[in-house]
Symmetry: C2
Subunit: 338 residues, 2 copies
């Protein structure tokens, strides 16, 4: 056993259910999470009562590296969970987090990730109500993995789902695509490239809230793993309709474009972590776009495509007037980006 335990790095002894684990939770993790609802002495947390419709989501986070421009695994985990609730039309209420900590992670890093989580949760108006820690032997953990669950309540009246999608519906994206994927790739420095592109990692709750009351909003999803092209494929697979995306309207930032050209990636398959893809009835698409553009996180929103009557495939209309098929993703272009 190292002399380091209880000190500057996490050791296996911090995972044993005893004093070191209690101190790790009480002194390093819980203060950062800054949640008045978190009682570290309980097996289960009492959330209280609500008469609203409950929704739940769960997500694992294994991003490498743990820090990247514009965020870290902690902020990513909270935003990602909040966003999964936001896009079904819910308000996040309660969050739980399970930490899988690799032996050797510095206490300072862990405390910093916990603070990022606390700040992101507060911004979303959600409370971190329960947590768990496990320590993994050195070499079996990638530094830190997080598993989040979010429980929210459905906002009145919003009925979203792919089953509402019809041909001629418009497809909107709330901003540029692929920023998160490329930001993480540059942070890895595997390719000897450097860049200053920040991830778009952020809460999409303001964007989702802005569309409430628009009954033409059929469906929303945040284009994370697999990017906008994968969301398009999910829509096509579920509805049997076709979907056309217009390259001229899809904003790809110059650093994202440059990295994709150098490495042969397609930006439409790269992850965003602060964007929404929305399908909206044609006659309300302009209004939805206007509402998004009125927000700082939606100023680059655009109508980027449309659902078509068939065949069930995803077509990219290129800026030169051509068309190419966007195939369903098979090989992973960028593993471990979330």
């Amino acid at each position: 056993m190292s002399d380091d335990r209880g000190a500057r790095h996490v050791t296996l002894a911090h995972g044993n259910g005893g004093r070191f684990m209690r101190e790790l939770i009480e002194q390093v993790i819980a203060p950062g999470l800054a949640s008045a609802s978190l009682d570290v002495t309980l097996d289960a947390a009492v959330l209280g009562q609500t008469h609203e419709v409950l929704v739940a989501t769960t997500d694992g986070f294994t991003v490498q590296p743990l820090d990247f421009p514009g965020g870290n695994i902690g902020s990513l985990a909270i935003h990602g969970t909040v966003n999964d609730l936001a896009v079904v039309g819910a308000e996040p209420r309660w969050l739980t987090v399970s930490f899988f900590i690799e032996e050797g992670l510095s206490m300072d890093s862990l405390a910093r990730y916990a603070r990022s989580m606390g700040a992101a949760a507060a911004q979303a108006g959600a409370a971190i109500v329960a947590g768990d820690t496990k320590v993994l032997p050195r070499g079996q953990g990638g530094g830190l993995y997080l598993a989040m669950t979010g429980v929210g309540v459905l906002s009145g009246g919003l009925k979203l789902g792919m089953r509402h999608i019809r041909p001629s519906d418009a497809v909107l994206v709330s901003g540029s695509v692929g920023d998160h994927g490329v930001a993480v790739l540059l942070a890895r420095q595997d390719f000897g490239m450097k860049g200053e592109l920040p991830s778009d990692c952020a809460s999409v709750l303001p964007l989702a809230r802005a569309l409430r009351g628009l009954d033409g909003v059929r469906f929303m999803r945040d284009p994370t793993r697999g990017g906008v092209a994968t969301v398009a494929h999910e829509i096509v697979a579920a509805t049997g309709n076709g979907l056309t995306l217009n390259a001229a309207q899809l904003l790809v930032r110059p650093p994202v474009q440059a990295v994709c050209e150098m490495l042969g990636y397609d930006p439409y398959y790269l992850a965003s972590e602060g964007r929404i893809v929305a399908v909206v009835a044609e006659e309300q698409a302009e209004e939805a776009c206007r509402r998004w553009r009125a927000l700082p996180e939606g100023r680059d929103a655009a109508i980027v495509g449309a659902v078509t009557a068939g065949p069930p495939r995803v077509v990219l209309a290129t800026e030169l007037g051509g068309q190419r098929l966007l195939e369903e993703l098979e090989d992973d272009p960028l593993p471990r980006i979330c």
Copy 2:
């Protein structure tokens, strides 16, 4: 990329958000979970409405090996989550699971763990409503890690908590101690020992339900990591009272005793995964014990100790009439047992 993907083992391509991931979830994981509530095309699951008080718990599972006599990581994860809800007096309703799968895990194993999860959830009357999968590169995952969150509803009237504990309260354990810890240790074969001891891994929900309506029940906890001694320390730390355990009443099965003697472990610090430690008002302790013994999972229940007026320490009264202090756990006697 291996040719194996989509076939007999999990590959990195199964983590990319695309077709392979969808097939892994639809064909391998979801059928085992056998949950009608699980819609794999949604970002978040609609749970519905309830007017009862909600409680939530979260837990990570990193047991090594993934299979052990009496259970596997799948059944352990569900029972462990259900048990954390049961001991606060709740009925489990909804479960979420996050899979962290190491590249190379066999599809057969994954399907088997999912089936164990589905069976254990059904037994508890809980629905698995949301899931997520991430694939970790070979060497960074220990085969499989699971993160569970459980949401339940508090059963009417039950007010449990350490704040209700008073000196002279009795301490009960629902069965033998340390079985799970030793079963996992023997399954590892690190020590060249073989044995047929099954883990006690099981739902404690029937035991928890049996004590409902007994207003002298102050507090319950399942003695997992750190064992009965650690639960005793948590009580002492939270209440400022002392606690005495009687070795003559604490059932330690012969294989557990034998392993502890050979390896120098103390069985009171080893994990159980299907037991409850309960603190009950002295005058209702016999009734609580009688109710437990009427159940198959409680037939070895016993009153094993008492809360004392102080000083705040945990004392073991030995069978020879002596006393020894049970210190708070520091080094981990058996890492990765849950």
